[in-house]
């Protein structure tokens, strides 16, 4: 196991374990409390499998009242809580704590209301992302954010991570598609925010909760907006001799006022691996391959495809194919969607990074990444959500070779530093969790991070919800409240007055 320091377990909590289990069994009766080591095993990790930890106990509540009682119990007894949805976090957001209750929300698995007149779906948080689309697709609607784990990931987890997907430039992230929430605070208080109306009242607490990685509250109900599915979607597969030309093409498409539904780029290593794996018909004599998808009315899609093709040609494309059928479009995507497992076939292990960069910095980032690759002695394949600047470098390594995991992690950290250097961010959609926690100071000053932690203090003063995630240094709320006061200074004479 790699070394990321987690908060020191409370010996007192560990000693009281059997009492805590018995007390929780009084709140959630029957099979909703799991304390047997073997039965707890499936909960010891999420999709960041390099890290494992058995929880103190697993609780699977079925009602809001149970969630509220469990949280209040933990609050009263100073017991930590790690909320968990489907466990598909790539950043260790749901990694358990030895002295923490693992609160699984997967029994909250019902869609509560479909209101197509208001284009809204009210659902419990354990319903999968795809489950929402499935529930409304017979009427021509869908839920827009589509993370690649959408078959498995829960909408509650999407809220925690502010999940995106390949269509986020045009259709937004979770935060842009959310209308209402019901949350339970660590004190057990239940709060409702928003509803089916647009714009919630007072402070935008939904904005703070979306992407808060389970550190602020537990979500027990979600209202999302659903959209009418576009009538047509067609994709173009465009190859370039170099990624520089591809990068210019991306900028020019957007500069021309075209917002594609999806725009993806893959580099040579990713193209070869994907083609070898799924035989999508990708050209192998190009250095960068772009998939541009346009959606909307057929006439609009045809018109835009013509313009995109012309822009590609102008920027030196060496390969162009436009999908002629739904089947062909899906084939184009099949290679891209299988890029991660495809890379998994050419390397025993890989690390998936998740920085976002300004689109214009792509050629520079790819160039410097090659230099880093040589420095660390590890190969890297790149897939890039070019529409929204989200870059997924896949670092290839072999965990059985001593030192390679450490080298891969160091390489990854260098890549993320590079992303920040060019004006980007550490994580576009996978979350900070434990994986990028210690890199937060690369992007934020101490004051920035302290202000973020003060938000947590407003929700969870005892810092019992998912501690050890997101922030590299845990400050007590009392310490964060301290102010350096300079009494009696004069209002600064050189500041203009009116």
């Amino acid at each position: 196991m790699a070394a990321i320091a987690m908060p020191k377990p409370s010996q007192e909590t560990l000693k009281k374990r059997s009492k805590i289990v018995a007390d929780l069994q009084k709140i959630v009766r029957g099979e909703g409390v799991i304390c047997d080591e073997i039965e707890m095993r499936p909960y010891e990790t999420d999709a960041l499998t390099a890290y494992r930890q058995l929880p103190l106990v697993v609780v699977l509540p079925e009602t809001v009242d149970q969630v509220s009682q469990v949280l209040k119990y933990c609050y009263d007894n100073d017991v930590k809580v790690v909320p968990r949805g489907a466990g598909t976090s790539l950043s260790g957001g749901a990694l358990p704590l030895e002295d923490g209750v693992l609160l699984s929300m997967m029994k909250f698995n019902r869609i509560l209301e479909i209101d197509l007149e208001n284009r809204a779906v009210v659902t419990q948080p354990g319903v999968t992302n795809l489950g929402i689309t499935t529930a409304v697709q017979q009427d021509g609607f869908y839920y827009a954010p589509d993370p690649s784990s959408q078959i498995a990931c829960s909408i509650g987890g999407n809220i925690a991570e502010n999940s995106g997907g390949v269509h986020s430039l045009k259709y937004g992230l979770t935060t842009n598609n959310l209308l209402g929430l019901e949350i339970v605070l660590i004190t057990g208080e239940v709060i409702r925010l928003g509803g089916k109306h647009l714009d919630s009242e007072a402070y935008d607490l939904m904005a703070l909760l979306t992407g808060s990685e389970g550190l602020l509250a537990v979500v027990t109900e979600v209202t999302v907006r659903v959209l009418q599915k576009p009538e047509t979607a067609r994709a173009a597969l465009i190859g370039f001799p170099t990624s520089e030309e591809a990068g210019k093409c991306v900028a020019e498409i957007i500069g021309a006022g075209i917002i594609p539904g999806g725009m993806e780029l893959m580099d040579k290593l990713a193209i070869d691996a994907a083609e070898d794996f799924v035989h999508a018909g990708y050209p192998l004599d190009v250095d960068a391959l772009m998939i541009v998808e346009l959606d909307g009315p057929e006439a609009e899609v045809d018109d835009l495809l013509k313009r995109v093709s012309a822009i590609a040609e102008k920027n030196g494309s060496s390969y162009l194919r436009v999908s002629q059928s739904e089947e062909e479009r899906n084939t184009f995507w099949a290679g891209r969607k299988a890029a991660f497992p495809a890379v998994g076939r050419i390397s025993p292990d890989y690390l998936c990074m998740d920085g976002t960069i300004p689109r214009a910095a792509l050629p520079q980032v790819l160039q410097e990444m090659q230099e880093l690759s040589e420095k660390h002695g590890l190969r890297v394949a790149n897939v890039f959500h070019a529409g929204d600047g989200n870059l997924h470098p896949l670092i290839l390594y072999d965990a059985n070779k001593p030192g390679e995991l450490a080298a891969a992690e160091a390489f990854g950290a260098d890549i993320l530093r590079l992303c920040v250097k060019v004006g980007g961010v550490l994580t576009g959609e996978h979350g900070v969790g434990i994986e990028k926690r210690d890199l937060m100071p690369e992007m934020y000053s101490e004051d920035d991070l302290k202000q973020q932690q003060r938000v947590k203090c407003a929700f969870d003063e005892k810092q019992l919800l998912n501690p050890g995630k997101m922030f590299p240094v845990l400050h007590r709320c009392a310490e964060l409240g301290f102010m350096h006061v300079h009494q009696g200074q004069l209002p600064f004479p050189d500041i203009p007055r009116f």
């Binding site: 208001n118 990028k436 500041i495």
Partner: protein, 399 residues
């Protein structure tokens, strides 16, 4: 006698807030002051005016991102974007017609602090949906930043969006990064004449539920304004490339063919129509209390039906019914019955936009919050502004 601070840099602004924090002396925080007649009045000796911190920091049209200082005039932002054939998709309003004061006086900071969005909010999202990054000074007098300059970013809490609709009570912004989008090549408005509010509501709902990609949907009753002199009018806006608009227009004609009285407003006339609705021009020239009701779209027409039974009102529906503007003709306060009706019709909130200073002090301007939510909001305020010096009481007593 209080001071009026007018800093021109983030550092100067930080110095003022640090001083006020140390002195425990409240500041009324304003951009240019164009929305001072909206919301609760702030009791403070000093005013902190942010419109001296102005100018574009970075604008890369191909990145679709604008980084701009908080006190930059909204019109400067709009003019710059227009030069590059781009725009703020959420269409912020100029509320001077109803709030008084000079035209086009607002700052971008004021727009975001109040999460002010126009008719296109229905499709494009609100002001807050377009904020990517923030630099601000907290009530502690500390500069902090959050977010970034990229669309996809989950690095830490989303304080940038959290700032929106905080009315300057959590922090004073010094700059923002904002997502911008290309302007549509063409726009037109499909008009249905003579519909009842119920019919309009179902027509708007059907249009929004179709693949016609309607970007704004409004309904104005008969006799409400020059546009609806003889009939009520229902307006559905289409934007995009011409070939797409033609197709979608035919689609609307076909799904709404049961309403035979149809018209079309094109080009500049369409833009002016939506601009006037956005800026609430039909409510200009009056000082009667004007309420903004945010409800589920299908509840809009129910609200109107119930209100018309009880009160003399002038009204219009935007956001496909989800936004109802109601001008109360009577003098008595209407906050309690309005909010009760909202609660009975699926929930939402009511905000008093225009009213005399007396009325604004005697009723809750913003939707009263349940105790638990108010408690959380106060704790949040205290974490940003522990001495309650930034716009105290602007939204709620104690916030």
């Amino acid at each position: 006698m209080g001071e009026g601070f007018h800093p021109t840099t983030a550092d100067e602004l930080e110095a003022v807030v640090k001083w006020a924090s140390a002195e425990r002396t409240p500041l009324e925080v304003i951009g240019s002051g164009s929305k001072c007649n909206w919301g609760r009045a702030v009791q403070s000796a000093h005013t902190l005016r942010v419109d001296g911190i102005s100018g574009v920091i970075d604008y890369e049209p191909a990145e679709l991102v604008l980084t701009v200082k908080a006190g930059t005039p909204l019109t400067d932002v709009q003019t710059l974007l227009k030069e590059h054939n781009q725009e703020l998709p959420f269409e912020p309003a100029d509320l001077s017609a109803v709030l008084g004061g000079p035209n086009q006086a607002g700052t971008i900071g004021g727009v975001l602090a109040t999460n002010l969005s126009g008719p296109r909010r229905l499709k494009a999202g609100a002001a807050r949906d377009h904020v990517l990054g923030l630099e601000a000074v907290s009530g502690r007098g500390e500069i902090f930043k959050a977010g970034g300059r990229v669309v996809k970013n989950v690095t830490g809490y989303d304080l940038s969006r959290g700032f929106c609709s905080s009315w300057g009570t959590l922090a004073v912004a010094t700059s923002f990064s904002i997502k911008v989008l290309p302007r549509a090549a063409k726009e037109c408005t499909f008009v249905l004449l003579g519909l009842t509010p119920q019919e309009a509501s179902s027509a708007m709902s059907e249009a929004m539920g179709s693949s016609a990609e309607v970007s704004s949907a409004a309904h104005l009753p008969k006799g409400f304004c020059p546009l609806s002199q003889e009939h009520s009018i229902t307006l559905l806006r289409l934007e995009g490339i011409p070939v797409s608009i033609d197709y979608r227009l035919n689609k609307l004609r076909s799904i709404l063919k049961r309403f035979p009285s149809q018209e079309l407003i094109e080009g500049q006339a369409s833009r002016k129509t939506w601009g006037d609705l956005r800026d609430l021009i039909p409510f200009a020239g009056s000082d009667k209390p004007l309420w903004k009701l945010s409800v589920s779209p299908t509840a809009g027409q129910q609200m109107i039906a119930e209100l018309e039974k009880r009160f003399a009102i002038r009204w219009m529906m935007d956001w496909a019914g989800g936004l109802v503007w109601v001008e109360m003709q009577g003098e008595e306060p209407h906050d309690v019955p309005l909010r009760r009706l909202i609660a009975e019709n699926g929930g939402g909130h009511a905000t008093l936009l225009r009213a005399s200073a007396e009325l604004r002090t005697s009723v809750d301007v913003f939707q009263p919050l349940p105790e638990t939510l108010m408690g959380l909001s106060k704790r949040l305020k205290a974490q940003f502004d522990p001495h309650n010096i930034l716009n105290p009481g602007r939204m709620y007593a104690g916030i």
